[in-house]
Symmetry: C2
Subunit: 213 residues, 2 copies
């Protein structure tokens, strides 16, 4: 396992060099299946597309449903199929790069395989790691899957439109995220209604501009 | 990887022999984090506890929250912490068996780590594998994570109380599950309202009695 990680770190460093060279700000999105990674990307892209040049790398076990959803928004999207592997690794991401004109991209999203565990262990050369937690998953997820929250700089709490119908307490989530990672930023959004998306999108804009991307 | 599987198969066979000897009917529960595995167990236990002797093995990365929820119902519960591993394997389950008086158990539940990918590859000597899919996860999960649906004999669609508030079509899910595994049985339930739980519980009763447990 340590060997696997050492190899991944080498490839992640190569990715980082490519991204620096091309001035790409890179966001790695993690979550359980169905938390809303692709929906968040769709809503983010709609709001940023006038100002920022984006591309997306989609990671899934099989299929290209998510890449097709992104391509429908006229954004370059490359699908990686892991063929059973439960996370993206840096080598897989590297193999997808020739499909993208990286010099034409300011903001590159990498949507990881839907899994709250394994993707947290694999660096992909990203600038920012974002974990999405949706309200119907329940409040116990932060404590039960701590690595994803420790290794991410941002937590997006999605599906706040369901708050009346599910057992989820935003303040408890904020507090438990803060215990694990005091410097993490927490956004609360509903991709369905749009509530909260402006703050998240403004944050991304500042990050991309701050990076010189 | 093939070697890991071969070792797991050997331990799974040992488990199967223990379960047969003790007349245990064993159910392995898989799902994404937050689909409601523990909630389904709680509601199932409340309804079966007069008639059937049960025990639960809880698999989590860290913590014992789920085992405490089960123990609060006066049912023997053993917590396995995988320490980072994204699934239970048969060796871990074997190591937990001495904590349980298996000869006093008719129905043993094994709640796997919350993960829709890796647990599907590891046999635990079970009689029945059940995958839980909750409506807020969305309809694309069956096609995106096919192994869990192919390797499970039962699908429980949970959180049907949210159907008006989320994009999920039960008939589409039934049809796509049927395409992957024509013999699988599909139950629709809401652990929150109790709707649909009777059919699921009756099914389990028949299975336990049919097995001579």
């Amino acid at each position: 396992m340590q060997n696997v990680m050492a190899v991944n770190d080498l490839f992640a460093q190569e990715l980082r060099e490519s991204f620096d060279q091309n001035k790409n700000y890179v966001v790695n999105l993690l979550s359980s299946p169905g938390s809303g990674k692709t929906s968040l990307l769709e809503e983010t892209i709609k709001r940023l597309k006038k100002d920022i040049r984006m591309a997306v790398i989609e990671g899934d076990i099989v299929g290209d449903q998510d890449a097709r959803r992104i391509a429908a928004l006229d954004i370059p999207a490359v699908q990686i199929n892991t063929g059973g592997t439960c996370h993206l690794d840096a080598r897989m991401v590297k193999s997808a790069l020739p499909e993208l004109a990286l010099a034409q991209v300011d903001l590159l999203f990498i949507e990881n395989v839907g899994n709250l565990i394994c993707p947290a262990s694999f660096k992909l050369g990203e600038d920012l790691r974002v974990v999405i937690l949706s309200t119907p998953e329940g409040n116990d997820k932060v404590k039960k899957y701590p690595l994803a929250f420790r290794e991410s700089q941002v937590v997006v709490i999605n599906k706040t439109d369901l708050l009346g119908a599910v057992d989820f307490n935003i303040e408890q989530a904020r507090s438990e995220v803060g215990d694990i990672n005091p410097r993490s930023e927490v956004f609360t959004v509903s991709c369905r209604t749009g509530v909260g998306l402006d703050a998240w999108v403004d944050f991304l804009k500042r990050k991309v501009r701050g990076s010189g991307g």
